[in-house]
């Protein structure tokens, strides 16, 4: 066999390197394959239940302190900033329902997801990135285990499950912050505050918020895993993976927020 003449490496040298647009489409194709692989492998046995639980604990429980603080402060600040505008129209009694709707519909999913994109996305990107450059992922491959199932599906599923739970937690803590602010300025009981807040919240609000949080969680997990799993070029690559996981994650969350607001707006009268 005349190997020299058939060597594709020699042919490759003559081919031009792909341009920017070609590379963009190649990356897009790669992302689609990655997502498809998740759906193919994520729901088929064997299941990595213990690792999934560990990831849920890492993503959820360990983000609680930061999310509690952010949610609580947001509730206080939003209430404080909204009061003067409502007071101009003598509508301060609407404050609880305004805060409730704003928190549940947009602030809680968006804030929780942005914090998670920073905290969780970067941590997933860096962890998988460093596993890639230190050949730990290759070590899983050669020991006949499926690293994608163990590392990627568990993290994406954990983020998808945990972010909606954290979203409702943020909304609840935000309401407590709002209640604190209201009770400082008005003679309103906690019961009356929550009653006023919750009676304006519809089933559609809860559904929209849940769906958005699921999509945001999936995005955070997927972007972090994709960047980390495909990182290269040593420690520099790990840094880039963590950074890209945050930047791309946040960018996609904002786009998804705009699209979902438009979409769920269609169902509101």
């Amino acid at each position: 066999m005349d190997n020299q003449a058939e060597n594709p490496a020699i042919l490759k040298k003559q081919a031009r390197p792909p341009g920017k647009i070609t590379r963009m489409f190649l990356t897009l194709y790669d992302v689609c394959q990655f997502v498809t692989r998740f759906f193919k492998e994520g729901f088929l046995p064997p299941y990595e239940g213990r690792e999934l639980m560990r990831q849920c604990y890492d993503i959820g429980y360990r983000s609680l302190a930061l999310i509690s603080l952010t949610g609580f402060i947001t509730g206080i600040v939003f209430t404080k900033q909204s009061r003067p505008s409502l007071a101009e129209f003598g509508a301060t009694s609407w404050l609880p329902s305004l805060v409730g709707i704003a928190l549940l519909r947009t602030l809680a999913p968006l804030l929780t997801s942005l914090i998670a994109a920073g905290k969780v996305g970067s941590s997933i990107g860096a962890e998988l990135g460093s596993m890639r450059v230190t050949e730990q992922i290759d070590a899983m491959e050669v020991s006949a285990t499926n690293p994608f199932k163990f590392l990627v599906t568990t993290r994406v599923l954990a983020a998808t499950i945990t972010i909606p739970i954290l979203t409702f937690y943020t909304a609840m803590v935000g309401m407590l912050g709002a209640l604190l602010n209201v009770s400082l300025f008005e003679d309103t009981s906690a019961r009356a505050f929550f009653q006023a807040s919750l009676e304006q919240i519809t089933f559609l609000d809860i559904t929209a918020s849940t769906v958005k949080a699921i999509i945001f969680g999936f995005t955070i997990g997927m972007v972090g895993c994709y960047q980390g799993y495909n990182s290269s070029k040593g420690t520099e690559g790990v840094g880039k993976a963590a950074n890209s996981a945050v930047v791309i994650g946040m960018f996609l969350i904002f786009i998804e927020e705009v699209v979902s607001v438009q979409f769920f707006g269609l169902f509101r009268t």
Partner: protein, 257 residues
Amino acid sequence: MEQKKPTDMDQEKVIEIKGLYKSFGTYDVLKGVDLDLHKRENLVVLGKSGTGKSVLIKIIVGLLTPDLGAVKVLGQLVDEISYKELLALRLKVGFSFQNSALYDSMTVRQNLEFPLVRNQRNLTKGEVNIAVERVLDAVGLLQTINQMPSELSGGQRKRVGIARTLILQPEVMLYDEPTAGLDPITCLEINNLINEVQERFHTSSIVITHDLTCAKAVGNRVAMLLDGKFERQGTFDEVFNTDDERVKPFYEYNFIQ
């Protein structure tokens, strides 16, 4: 130092490589590699850094795909089998990484349990413990069972890495630079361990190295990668008994210095 004797060349071939090419971008690494590994043989692959030694063994386990050529491992063409078949084949091929590649978020015990429980799901907790302790004892590191990889020395990490591959009872072992970055005493211990593994677990091995002391101590046969091809193969003395200017400096640096 005594040189190991060559094995019987008529023995069954466990790895057959024919006309293997691999390039990265415009850099051709392997340019028509032919190589055979015989049953129960330790074959040492020597070569300068960047000559494609690690690339070669990564192609053997399907971590990299060749541009051209055929790689047959235990009778199966690596390029032509399905992913499921590749996973089954990898159970029979142990790979010891240059930097050990231990899972740094797991203890030594969990590192060893990880491949075992995922490939033999019917094992009881007791059977897993026995298997873990057996291979750790074989590499002389039973006392480190509950330590984290970050608490181990370089030599210990290499040993645990080898134990992690042995737990699946492979037929073929691939060692990527087993003595790189280790002191001479630890190198000697690792060389002895490679020989012990060959005798105790009846494995056939490819040892990638540029350490000639290791090559002489563990290799039944030596193959030298020069300009992307194996131009010199044979016993240690046969390979280095030459005036080839590409080979001589290698020997002189390792032994005369």
